[in-house]
C-alpha cells in the first residue's frame, strides 16, 4: 500500500474537527422580540451619507444598494463631521478590515475616534443613524465587535445577517437598547429592510 492505512486515520479526525467547527449554524439562532422583517414606516430621510466603520469593502456593497434603490446618497468611507452638513441620515457599514485601513493609511484608534465624533454629531443634530453589518461570522473580530458596541446603542435601526449574529451579540444589544433589528438570510436580502427605512 503506497499511502499507509495508518496515515489515512487522520481523515476521520479532520472530519470531526470540521464538523465541530461547522456546528455553529447561523440558522439555529433564536429570534427575539425586537427582530422585525422590515420597518413598518420610514424612520430616515434623504440625503444620506454612507460611511464605513472599519473600512471593509462591505461599505461599497451598501453604496451600490443605495444607488440601485435610488436613495440620494453621499459615499464617504472616511467621512468626518464637516461632511455631515445637509445630511439627514448616516449609514454605518460596520466591518473591520486591517488591509483596507492600511490602504487608506488609517489607524484603528483614529477610526474609533472618527466614529465617536460622527455619532456625537448625529446625536446632537438629530441625524438618523442606521447600522448595517453584512460581514458574517468571519468579520466578527474583536475590532468589529468593539465598533458594533459603540455604534448599535446609538443607532435608530440595525440590519445584520443571521450569520453575523451567530452568538446573539447584535440582537442582544439591540434588545437592551430597544432598537429595531432586522436579520436577513444573506446580503442580497438587505435591500428590502434597507429601503423600508426611507420609504
Amino acid at each position: 500500500m503506497i499511502i499507509r492505512i495508518r496515515n489515512l486515520l487522520i481523515l476521520p479526525v479532520l472530519a470531526i474537527i470540521l464538523y465541530l467547527i461547522s456546528t455553529n449554524n447561523p440558522l439555529s439562532t433564536n429570534l427575539n422580540a425586537h427582530v422585525i422583517p422590515s420597518l413598518p414606516r420610514p424612520i430616515a430621510e434623504e440625503t444620506i451619507l454612507v460611511t464605513s466603520a472599519g473600512q471593509s469593502t462591505d461599505t461599497y456593497i451598501i453604496k451600490d444598494i443605495s444607488n440601485k434603490l435610488m436613495i440620494h446618497n453621499f459615499f464617504m468611507p472616511q467621512a468626518v463631521n464637516d461632511d455631515l452638513e445637509e445630511i439627514n441620515t448616516i449609514v454605518f457599514v460596520i466591518g473591520y478590515s486591517p488591509l483596507s485601513e492600511k490602504v487608506n493609511q488609517l489607524s484603528y484608534e483614529n477610526e474609533l475616534k472618527r466614529i465617536d465624533s460622527l455619532l456625537n454629531y448625529a446625536s446632537n443634530n438629530e441625524v438618523t443613524v442606521i447600522s448595517v453589518f453584512i460581514g458574517g461570522k468571519q468579520r466578527r473580530v474583536s475590532e468589529t465587535d468593539e465598533m458594533l458596541g459603540s455604534i448599535i446603542p446609538k443607532s435608530h435601526y440595525v440590519i445584520s445577517t443571521f450569520e453575523g449574529d451567530f452568538d446573539h451579540f447584535i440582537s442582544e444589544m439591540a434588545r437592551q437598547n430597544d432598537i429595531p433589528l432586522t436579520l436577513v438570510e444573506n446580503i442580497t436580502d438587505v435591500s428590502e429592510p434597507y429601503a423600508s427605512a426611507f420609504r
Partner: protein, 453 residues
C-alpha cells in the same frame, strides 16, 4: 566524506537563511499586491462584474501559498541542518515541524500585521507532512519537500475563496472574506465554488501523483541497487568457480606431465647403467622426445594460440586414457573412423574440453540399468565430428537455452564445464552443438575443420 558533509551543511545553511528571510519579509515585499486586491474587490462591487473577483482571488491564494511554502521549507531546512533526522524519531520530528509551522505563521502574522488562515494552514501542513513522510526518501529531500509542499499549499489555498466552505473556517482572512461576501452580493457564489474546486482538485491529485512517483522512483532505485549487489556477488562467485576450474586444469596438466617425467627418469637410470654407446644415443633421443612433449604440453596450456597438427586417433587415445571409469554400470564405447585427416588445435585444451563433455555425460543421472556413452569420431565433409551421446535423463527445452551460461547447471555441478568447453572449441575454430530430449538422452556434436596435411 567530511568535506561532502560540510558542503551539505553549508548548502542547507544558505537555503535556511534565504528561506527564513523570504518567509519573514515576504508580507512586506508583497504589501502592494494585498492593497491591489482590495482595490479590485471594490471595482467588482462598483461595476457589478464578478469577473473582477478572479484576479484578487488568484493573487490572494498565490501569496498565501507562497508564504506558507516558504515557512514550511525554512523549517524543513532548519530540521535538516540540526541533524534531527538522525537524532529524533520521525513522528516527533513531524510534530515539531507542524508546531513550528503554526508558531512561525502566528509570529510573522503578528509582527507584519497580516492575518493567516489557521485551519487551512494547519490542514495543508498536515497533508503535506503526511505525503512527504513516505515519499521523501534519501534522495533530494529538500527538492522533494519543495515540489510537494508547493503543490499542496497552492491546492488548499483555493479552498479559501469557496463560499461553500465558509462555515468550515476556510478563508477567514480579510481579503478572502471580502471576496466571498462580494461573490454572494454579485450572485456568483457558484462561480467561486467551482473555480476553487477546479483548481484544488487537479493540484491536490497532482501532489498525490508526485508523491507516488517519488515513492516508486525510490523503490526502483532500491531494486536496482539490490540487483547490482546480487550481480556483483554472482560475478564474484563465478570468478571464484573459474579460479577453481583453473586449479583443476593445472592439476590435470601436472598429472599429464608425470608420464613424460617418469619416462625421462626411467631412461635416465638406464643411461647411468648402460655401457652400449648405440643405446645411449637411442635413450637420449627418447629423453629429448619426452622433454619435447612436456614443452609442447606446457606451451599448449600456457598459450591459447599454441596449436599443432594432431592425428585424430592420437586425440582419441589421449582422451580415452583420461576418462575416469570407476562405475561398473558405466559403459563407454568409442568408435573412430579410420584414416581421418588431422586437426589443427591446442592439444591440451581441446582434450580437456572433450573430457569435460564426457565427464558431463558420465555424471548426468539416468533411469536405465546401464549408463551408455557413445563417442563417435567421423568425417563430415571436410570437418571432423566428435559425437558424444548418452542415455541420461536429458535436458528440458526451457533449460537448453541457458546451458552455455557460465554457472548454469542441471545437476548440482559448478556449471562451468560446458561454457569452458564451448570457449575452447570455438577458440580452436571448432563448433559445438547440443541436442537433448527429456527421458531419451543428450547428443553433443563437436566439429573441427580437417587438415589433410
Amino acid at each position: 566524506m567530511i568535506g561532502t558533509q560540510n558542503k551539505d551543511e553549508l548548502k542547507y545553511g544558505f537555503a535556511t537563511l534565504f528561506l527564513v528571510m523570504m518567509a519573514v519579509f515576504f508580507p512586506a515585499v508583497t504589501e502592494e499586491s494585498w492593497f491591489n486586491m482590495i482595490v479590485k474587490i471594490r471595482e467588482a462591487i462598483t461595476t457589478g462584474d464578478s469577473g473582477h473577483l478572479i484576479l484578487p482571488a488568484a493573487s490572494n491564494n498565490f501569496l498565501h501559498a507562497v508564504q506558507s511554502t516558504l515557512i514550511f521549507l525554512s523549517i524543513s531546512c532548519v530540521l535538516v541542518l540540526t541533524g534531527s533526522q538522525k537524532k529524533i524519531n520521525d513522528n516527533i520530528r513531524y510534530a515539531i515541524h507542524f508546531s513550528a509551522f503554526i508558531g512561525m505563521n502566528l509570529l510573522i502574522g503578528y509582527w507584519m500585521k497580516l492575518p493567516w488562515e489557521p485551519l487551512n494552514g494547519m490542514v495543508s501542513a498536515l497533508v503535506t507532512l503526511l505525503l512527504i513522510k513516505p515519499s521523501i526518501g534519501d534522495n533530494y529531500p529538500l527538492f522533494r519537500s519543495s515540489v510537494l509542499s508547493i503543490q499542496i499549499f497552492f491546492a488548499f489555498s483555493w479552498l479559501n475563496i469557496m463560499p461553500a466552505l465558509n462555515s468550515y473556517q476556510f478563508g477567514v482572512t480579510d481579503v478572502a472574506t471580502s471576496i466571498k461576501i462580494t461573490s454572494v452580493y454579485l450572485h456568483s457564489t457558484s462561480v467561486m465554488n467551482f473555480m476553487g474546486l477546479a483548481f484544488f482538485l487537479p493540484m491536490f491529485l497532482s501532489a498525490i501523483i508526485t508523491s507516488i512517483l517519488f515513492m516508486s522512483h525510490d523503490r526502483n532505485i532500491s531494486i536496482a541497487k539490490e540487483n547490482f549487489q546480487k550481480e556483483k556477488a554472482l560475478v564474484a562467485i563465478q570468478s571464484q568457480a573459474m579460479e577453481n576450474r583453473i586449479y583443476e586444469e593445472i592439476n590435470s596438466l601436472t598429472h599429464d606431465l608425470k608420464t613424460p617425467l617418469v619416462t625421462i627418469r626411467g631412461l635416465n637410470s638406464l643411461l647411468s647403467i648402460s655401457k652400449d654407446i648405440g643405446k645411449i644415443g637411442d635413450y637420449t633421443d627418447r629423453i629429448e622426445s619426452a622433454v619435447g612433449k612436456m614443452s609442447e604440453m606446457i606451451s599448449s596450456f600456457l598459450y591459447d594460440s599454441s596449436r599443432q597438427h594432431l592425428n585424430v586417433d592420437e586425440v582419441v587415445q589421449y582422451v580415452r586414457a583420461q576418462i575416469p571409469v570407476e562405475d561398473e554400470r558405466l559403459n563407454i564405447e568409442i568408435h573412430a573412423e579410420p584414416d581421418l585427416p588431422s586437426i589443427y588445435v591446442n592439444k591440451i585444451r581441446v582434450v580437456r574440453a572433450l573430457i569435460n563433455l564426457i565427464e558431463n555425460a558420465i555424471v548426468v543421472p539416468y533411469t536405465h540399468d546401464f549408463k551408455e556413452i557413445n563417442i563417435e569420431v567421423t568425417r563430415n565433409g571436410d570437418d571432423i565430428q566428435i559425437i558424444i551421446s548418452d542415455n541420461g535423463i536429458g535436458i528440458s527445452k526451457e533449460k537448453l537455452d541457458k546451458i552455455w551460461i557460465a554457472g548454469f547447471s542441471t545437476n548440482q555441478t559448478s556449471g562451468l564445464g560446458l561454457s569452458f568447453a564451448k570457449k575452447v572449441i570455438e577458440d580452436n575454430e571448432g563448433t559445438i552443438k547440443l541436442k537433448s530430449e527429456v527421458g531419451i538422452g543428450t547428443v553433443v556434436t563437436v566439429s573441427f575443420p580437417g587438415h589433410s596435411s
